[in-house]
């Protein structure tokens, strides 16, 4: 009941998905599409669990006065603000994504700038890590350094001012050797994914049940 039924469910759903792929006719024809919709619905419910976990963790942090507990108030306030404006906008405009709605107001003026600045901040950390990574100690590190330098210079006007060939070399690096390396990695990853899927369907891989 606790272990066998989940394994049977995994086998049946996985097997039916594969069957539906090879027999695209009734009763299997739309099975993949139907399963994808069901998947999205079940995944949607898991958001409630995530929300519950986030709220519980921060309430606990506040009640136990753990370090930085004051900021948990900020987090809970932000969460409540967006949820309230979201449902309010939903009732008012029939969708929360109406541009005039308070939900979109909080999205445009809070979420967008916070997200963009968070990612922009990474520019500094990437630069500092580049300093460490790019010290040309070995042949491989030198290759990394040269490729990165050409691509970076090729993306900005100063690169073209130094030589009009730099943007062309930059594009070539991205479209040929980088493509080859990326493709080699991706083929390996996808082959690994196929093997892992087979192991899961056949019940050899069971770590998701622990």
């Amino acid at each position: 009941m606790k272990r066998d039924i989940p394994l049977i469910i995994t086998f049946l759903t996985g097997f039916l998905c594969v069957i539906a792929f090879f027999i695209p006719h009734p009763p299997f024809g739309d099975l993949q599409q139907r399963f994808l919709v069901w998947y999205a619905i079940v995944a949607g419910f898991t958001m409630i669990l995530g929300l519950d976990s986030l709220v519980k963790y921060n309430v606990k942090k506040i009640t136990q006065h753990k370090p930085g507990w004051q900021y948990s108030y900020v987090l809970l306030f932000g969460l409540a603000l967006v949820l309230v404006t979201g449902f309010q906008s939903w009732f008012k405009y029939n969708t929360p994504f109406e541009l005039r709605s308070s939900f979109m107001y909080s999205y445009i003026h809070i979420i967008v700038p916070l997200q963009a600045t968070m990612f922009a901040l990474l520019a500094f950390f990437i630069s500092s890590s580049a300093y460490r990574a790019f010290r040309a100690r070995t042949f491989e590190a030198t290759l990394l350094l040269i490729a990165a330098a050409i691509v970076m210079l090729g993306r900005v006007p100063i690169g073209e001012m130094i030589s009009d060939k730099i943007p062309l070399r930059s594009d070539w690096l991205l479209n040929v050797p980088q493509l080859a390396a990326k493709r080699g990695i991706q083929v390996g990853v996808y082959l690994g994914g196929v093997v892992m899927s087979l192991r899961i369907i056949l019940g050899i891989e069971r770590t998701y049940l622990t």
Binding site: V18, M47, W90, L122, I126, E140, A147, A180, V187
Partner: protein, 212 residues
């Protein structure tokens, strides 16, 4: 209201950037606010685009067996909540198995058809590609050879079932050259994308303060 929103955005931008000096209460405030509002946003988003149209609206719209089939994902979704009760937490394994099974089944077919075969097809290029001019012919042929050799050697580098010696060692050495160039190019590209975002935020701040 828009003016207030712009000032809120400017304040939060500065609060995040203040981390460049050191970790401080302004940054922590903005960071926690970001986590809270993002979580709230995704709850609304998933409810509005997944659960509401795929389950609630569809249940009201459908008739007959199609209507009642929707009860299956709804029940599985509710079974997830069993994790709240330790004694019944094992029940949540059923919907987890269901989603894992779907993901595995789709990955098995979709990854082969959608990724592996197209990637191999795109790699098996003619080593002599005739172009309009000699330079184009030479250039295109070199590119095709580089891609073919690069993909094979990159794969050889990750082949661990045999010791890397002899021809395999040579192949994997060439593979690491391609991988390093690839990582370097990806790194440079990512840095420039982040710098572009930073320029965007700084331009926004300059506009808010009337300096641009």
């Amino acid at each position: 209201m828009n003016l207030l929103g712009t000032w809120i955005a400017a304040g939060l931008t500065i609060a995040i950037l203040s981390f460049l000096y050191r970790d401080n209460p302004f940054y922590k405030f903005a960071e926690h606010l970001f986590v809270g509002v993002s979580a709230g946003y995704w709850v609304i988003y998933i409810w509005a685009f997944d659960v509401q149209p795929m389950l609630v609206d569809e249940f009201l719209r459908q008739v007959g067996i199609e209507k009642w089939l929707l009860v299956i994902p709804a029940v599985f979704g509710l079974m997830m909540m069993a994790r709240w009760f330790p004694a019944a937490a094992w029940v949540s394994r059923w919907p987890i198995s269901f989603t894992v099974g779907i993901a595995a089944g789709l990955a098995l077919t979709a990854q082969v058809q959608g990724y592996i075969i197209p990637q191999i097809q795109a790699t098996l290029l003619p080593v002599v590609s005739i172009g309009a001019t000699t330079a184009e012919t030479v250039g295109q042929s070199i590119n095709n050879i580089v891609i073919l050799v690069g993909v094979i050697c990159a794969l050889l580098y990750f082949y661990f079932s045999r010791e890397h010696k002899g021809a395999l060692k040579v192949g994997s050495k060439i593979g690491i050259v391609f991988l390093m160039i690839g990582f370097g190019a990806s790194f440079g590209y990512t840095v420039m994308a982040r710098i572009s975002l930073l320029i965007g935020r700084l331009t926004f701040l300059l506009q808010v303060f009337g300096l641009r």
